[in-house]
């Protein structure tokens, strides 16, 4: 809220230029006029008046002093509608030799003119300088933190040509020759003479072939003043890695590149630029102009030696470092088939994650199961270490006095350059008799870790088949196949017949004349059977019945064939129809007419008709049907 008000006030101040112009004045002051060699002195150059868009003045070379620009501060005030402002530039001076000094006057460019401050006098005394905490940059390395009281140390470092020697990163290792799986510390130290912010890694280091543990860094990174190549730097260790080489050989670590941003000098020409680059907000860094830089430390060459073969214990499994071993059992008196849990704890410095379970020798009196494994890692100072515990369940099979034999753990100590073997104590166990047969304890059976895995021990063909079931099965399938084939054939034929009949029925239902024509022969055949039966009879009354049936069959047949009404048809209709198809002079037609006459005679009883006439009548009917059927085709 305060910031908003100030911004609004500033806007108001710019848009409504009351501009009660005030004379610009410059002044210089120090926080102390007497100091010892190496003790920090704060120099402030103050500009009062309407001169907001100022650049930080560059100090002239001060003989006998190291000087650093450490920031600026602006102040604006409105009193009774009148605004006033001042800008203060701060510098840190570190005297290099004793004596009386006069600094300045300092010239400040304000607008087109050059203003001068008054001179500042200092008395520098000799003797050991007290540890000093120089004023840190406005927004220095990761966060603001008190500088450790430490005297600057002069060191020598080579900076790659073409790079800015005011800021660089050193990636250093604590050793360049080490053993396989031995810890090596890789430290990234940032050296800067700027107001710098560490932004993290732009490119991570390439450390293939190494097991890596990163040290957690404090939120407030400790810094110290150091002197290098005659220059004074602020140094901060920004990253620390513990590396464990997994195999021997020559390695080159590419340290990657770090991203930092450094604060630029205010370059703006307006009040906004100056305002936002001021230290008013979050120490001046939030809106300050910053320039990103990538810092690339040079590669690091390493030689990883193999672990010596000489004196390597049989149970050695690759642990390197310095460890301690302790062990305990949860009980020393149990019943048969009751579990005893042995807990082994390995603790020390080294790559704790690569430590494997000590081998358990084959025990005749126990069943053994590997149980839980827990590990805890910790970093102390520059060393990685931790604890790892292994639990093993022993189930005694026989009663009596027994013991869990010592278990061995071996490691290589790189400091002493020799192998060390540790042993667990010998744990005596008293096993009481129990009738209960062995079974997986309830507390273990639910945990699959206790179950031994089924695994293939070898490969071979499976055994021969000594049974003869296929004879039976093959026969059944064959029989089913044959039966099904036969049944399907029959069903297929039946379905075809039913389909044809259905099709015929559908046709007949649409065309009655066709149905009568198609069924006339079958009806005539049915009548034929009846007529034959009557013809075989020798009774007189059957003669009349025969001819009545014969006339009816003949009339129905002819009527069906030519779609005449079977009941309303007259003799004349029949004769004309038959004459039209047989021809007027056809001999068989005469026989048909004669047959009809005979039928009339039989019906009306004009004299007796001989039995032999029945056969003649039947033959005429058959001939008529056959002839008409041939005609229709």
């Amino acid at each position: 809220m305060k910031k908003i008000l100030i911004i609004a006030a500033l806007i108001l101040g710019i848009s409504v230029p009351t501009l009660q112009a005030e004379e610009v004045r410059v002044s210089a002051s120090v926080n102390k006029n007497t100091a010892q060699v190496g003790e920090e002195i704060r120099l402030n150059i103050r500009v009062n008046g309407q001169a907001m868009n100022l650049q930080a003045p560059r100090l002239p070379k001060l003989d006998g002093f190291d000087a650093y620009y450490t920031g600026r501060a602006s102040h604006i005030a409105f009193v009774n509608g009148v605004s006033s402002s001042n800008v203060e530039f701060s510098y840190t001076l570190i005297p290099q030799r004793a004596g009386h000094c006069v600094l300045g006057p300092f010239e400040i460019p304000v607008g087109q003119s050059m203003l001068s401050t008054e001179a500042v006098t200092l008395d520098i005394t000799g003797g050991q300088a007290q540890p000093a905490s120089p004023q840190v940059p406005t927004q220095p390395l990761p966060v603001n933190a008190p500088m450790p009281p430490q005297a600057p140390q002069d060191e020598t470092v080579s900076v790659s040509p073409g790079t800015d020697d005011n800021i660089f990163v050193q990636a250093t290792v604590d050793r360049t020759t080490l053993y396989q799986n031995q810890q090596m510390l890789l430290t990234y130290s940032l050296y800067t003479r700027y107001d710098t912010r560490y932004e993290g890694f732009e490119k991570e280091p390439e450390t293939s072939g190494f097991w890596i543990e990163e040290f957690p860094m404090d939120r407030e990174v400790p810094r110290e003043n150091v002197r290098m190549n005659g220059k004074r730097y602020i140094r901060a260790d920004v990253k620390k890695l513990a590396l464990f080489p997994t195999a021997p050989g020559n390695y080159t670590i590419q340290p990657g590149s770090l991203k930092v941003s450094i604060r630029e000098e205010p370059q703006g020409n307006n009040a906004f630029d100056e305002f936002f680059s001021d230290s008013f907000f979050t120490g001046g860094s939030f809106f300050a102009r910053r320039q990103n830089k990538l810092l690339n430390p040079p590669p690091i060459q390493l030689v990883v030696k193999p672990l010596p073969e000489n004196g390597k214990p049989a149970g050695f499994q690759g642990a390197v470092g310095s460890f301690r071993l302790s062990a305990s059992v949860d009980k020393d008196k149990v019943k048969q088939n009751e579990p005893v849990t042995l807990k082994m704890v390995i603790e020390g410095e080294g790559n704790i994650e690569t430590i494997t379970r000590p081998k358990i020798p084959a025990l005749t009196g126990f069943k053994t199961y590997d149980a839980d494994t827990n590990s805890k890692l910790y970093q102390t100072e520059n060393v990685v270490g931790g604890t790892k515990s292994f639990e093993t369940v022993f189930i005694p099979k026989e009663e009596g006095s027994s013991f869990i034999p010592p278990l061995e753990f071996s490691y290589f100590d790189p400091r002493q350059e020799k192998y060390v073997t540790l042993q667990t104590p010998n744990f005596p166990i008293t096993v009481e008799h129990s009738e209960q047969a062995f079974q997986m304890p309830k507390e273990l059976s639910g945990n699959s870790i206790f179950q031994k895995k089924v695994k293939s021990e070898g490969q071979d063909i499976r055994y021969i088949d000594e049974r003869l079931p296929e004879v039976f099965q093959a026969g059944i399938v064959d029989k089913i196949y044959k039966i099904l084939a036969g049944v399907d054939l029959l069903l297929g034929v039946l379905l075809l017949i039913l389909w044809m009949k259905d099709r015929q029925d559908r046709l007949f239902s649409k065309d009655t004349a066709l149905r009568r024509r198609k069924t006339a022969r079958s009806a005539a055949s049915a009548s034929m059977h009846k007529l034959k039966r009557l013809a075989r009879s020798s009774k007189d009354q059957d003669v009349a019945a025969f001819f009545v049936e014969l006339e009816k069959a003949m009339t129905h047949y002819v009527a069906d064939k030519w779609d005449l009404s079977a009941y309303g048809v007259t003799r004349q209709d029949l004769e004309s129809t038959l004459t039209a198809h047989f021809g007027a002079g056809d001999a068989h037609l005469k026989d048909v007419f004669e047959l009809y006459r005979l039928c009339d005679e039989s019906r009306f009883g004009k004299g007796s008709i001989p039995q032999a006439s029945k056969k003649i009548g039947l033959k005429i009917f058959q001939d008529t049907v056959n002839r008409i059927e041939r005609m229709r085709r």
């Binding site: 088949d465 004879v471 039976f472 026969g475 196949y481 099904l484 399907d488 069903l491 039913l498």
Partner: protein, 251 residues
């Protein structure tokens, strides 16, 4: 023992060509005993006798193949395993032993066929030819019965959803049946029987050698010319080999 006697009794009824159930049982038991005692050559001979009399029993081919494996005759073993699989395609022991024996061969052929060809082969090999035909006839039976019932009942719609479904299934099983027919009788499997076999670009000794393969390799016979066969491998290679170098998987 009762079980074996029961099986043999049924076998006697169902397979009249079998000399006698007792003879077969005796022969089979003798072969198994020979195998158990490590006399694999004798066991193989006895199994061969059984197969000669009753060729359509998968167990005989399987046991014979096992005896061949013990004798180191891998090509003959693979041929017998393949025959056993033809008769009993879902037998896990046969498949496993075939896989194991193939792993003992000097040559190996990558299967670079498309996935759908592999899947089709796997489906078709899941059942015997006769089993698939029984399936086809069973579905046909249901379809015909449905049609007959329709005409006998004289009402309803012939092409109803049920009949359509059955017809669809019928088409499907017919398709499978046709596929099986093609697999068994058109694309014929064969096994390379020679220790080393040369496949040529043409059916003569004058043609250049296309590739070489060893015993036990499975090939597909796609053409025949006099005493030469054109074979196709699962890796796509194709060449002509002498018929005497290969043996067809035929039961």
């Amino acid at each position: 023992m009762k079980r074996i006697a029961g099986f043999l009794l049924i076998a006697l009824c169902l397979v009249p060509s079998f000399c006698t159930a007792a003879d077969a049982a005796k022969l089979f038991e003798d072969a198994n005993t020979s195998y158990r005692t490590g006399d694999y050559a004798k066991a193989a001979g006895l199994y061969e006798s059984l197969i000669e009399k009753t060729p359509r029993v998968a167990a005989f081919h399987y046991d014979l193949a096992n005896a061949y494996v013990r004798l180191g005759k891998y090509s003959q073993a693979i041929l017998s395993y393949e025959k056993a699989l033809r008769l009993d395609p879902r037998n896990a022991d046969i498949r496993e032993n075939l896989r194991h024996t193939q792993g003992l061969l000097e040559y190996r052929v990558e299967d670079s066929r498309n996935w759908y060809l592999k899947a089709t082969e796997a489906v078709l090999k899941y059942a015997t030819e006769r089993e698939i035909y029984v399936g086809v006839l069973s579905v046909l039976f249901v379809f015909l019965l449905g049609g007959i019932l329709y005409f006998l009942r004289g009402r309803g719609v012939f092409w109803n959803p049920w009949q359509r479904f059955v017809f669809f299934v019928l088409l499907l099983v017919v398709l499978v049946g046709v596929g099986k027919q093609v697999q068994s009788n058109v694309i014929r499997d064969a096994i390379v029987m020679q220790k080393e076999c040369e496949a040529r670009f043409g059916p003569s000794e004058h043609d250049q050698v296309a590739f070489k393969m060893g015993e036990g390799i499975k090939v597909f016979v796609v053409d025949r010319r006099e005493d030469w066969s054109r074979v196709l491998l699962t890796n796509g290679e194709s060449g002509w080999v002498r018929e005497s170098d290969i043996a067809e998987v035929k039961v």
